[in-house]
Symmetry: C2
């Protein structure tokens, strides 16, 4: 099995390093990842400027390509131009910080997996519930590798990715996998209004996260309860229910 | 009715200008839009730098706020910080270029509508099937205004936006509204490999669009056949079907 790995924290992050090491036990691994942190880029593509690919070495060997672009750019350019042989599976992560509930829509980690799916590649997104870069990623990486190893037995449809969220717990405290649905938690947004040194007004996005999903059948509820949440995320966006009931006037 | 208008082509584009004029026949209009073209930004948010809001005048009166951010930023900052009274409806557009089929996932225009929906605001995205900035937008604007005027009679659920795609045709050649589902057309991606003046390699995203949706019950098929396509797009991403059948091994 040939596994393409990317992320949105950048190729230097501890999360991708741990993931690559764990996945090498499952198959051949190629890395194409952003050259720097890409937060909340969603499914952005770079269309108006050129992309560069820089070979990065780690531990004395080729680790992967660093790209001056977004996670979705990395997947596209990896598949279209950089990989010498076809990949069988894409794994995106390990993200520092969970990607559950409404956050899925802003997540570069999840969007990289979505881009892989749109290009015909089965895909997994992996996030760890800690924003601290010092948090150990090896347990999350091991769970990601277990899903990668069994992926083709699970018969996931081609319009669906798997979104993993791993609690930041020691291995013996994790209760195992739990299949979940996307929750409904979200942000209470606010903007702080400030003045710059010239007296001109500017705004910073702030606000706080409202974690309302406690049901262990939701991504966030399961993760908070100590499970590795696995959500099948499908990009079939038509609301078929109302197609039958809505009546437009000309 | 108070309508918040944004777009992804930037506040100077002819599309938003035509849209604002048409919507003034339906209600009070406030504009918060990017200060420049934002192509293929998807659902990106600006989290690592400050946002500025600049008042823009047109035709001798206040037209709206220009923001140094993405379409999703504009919706968030508009609702949270800039609008003096609560908006009832968000309309995003008119985009130059259609947003049908797989392109919905890359579209800043559609993502602005999605952001509105996530903040509790009913939302419509409007795109015109022409990349030429000289194409007349008044017909598309008129159709957008007709949907805005009847929006609250349509009883659209709160997890769903309406995605309009208007053919670039004269008014008397348009066959009227057609309710559609998201199509499956997409890009055949490619990257052009070039050398810069220093001899270093770089890549440009190129490729071509494969328009395979001819069924007039799809967004793209309807638009190509001369209809104003109206797709109810829902962000309920869990694949419920496989939740019941998938079996994870620990």
């Amino acid at each position: 099995m040939h596994i393409l790995v990317t992320n949105d924290d950048g190729i230097d992050s501890p999360g991708i390093y741990a993931l690559v090491h764990a996945l090498r036990g499952v198959g051949k691994v190629s890395v194409v990842a952003p050259d720097r942190q890409q937060s909340a880029v969603g499914h952005a593509l770079t269309v108006s400027s050129p992309l560069r690919a820089t070979k990065i070495r780690r531990d004395g060997e080729m680790f992967g390509y660093a790209i001056n672009g977004t996670p979705a750019d990395c997947v596209k350019i990896g598949i279209c131009a950089l990989l010498e042989e076809k990949a069988d599976l894409l794994v995106s992560g390990i993200n520092h910080g969970s990607n559950t509930s409404k956050n899925i829509l802003y997540s570069g980690t999840v969007s990289a997996a979505t881009e892989g799916m749109m290009m015909g590649l089965p895909a997994i997104a992996v996030s760890l519930d800690s924003l601290d870069y010092r948090t150990d990623c090896t347990v999350a990486a091991e769970y990601a590798a277990r899903i990668a190893a069994q992926y083709f037995d699970l018969q996931i449809p081609s319009d669906t990715i798997l979104n993993l969220n791993v609690p930041a717990l020691a291995k013996d405290q994790i209760k195992g996998f739990r299949l979940t649905r996307q929750g409904t938690s979200g942000w209470e947004d606010a903007y702080e209004r400030r003045k710059d040194p010239m007296g001109r007004e500017y705004f910073w996005l702030s606000g706080h996260y409202n974690s309302i999903d406690n049901d262990i059948d939701t991504d966030e509820g399961a993760m908070k309860a100590g499970y590795v949440s696995v959500t099948p995320v499908r990009y079939q966006l038509t609301n078929e229910d109302i197609l039958r009931t809505i009546h437009l006037k000309e």
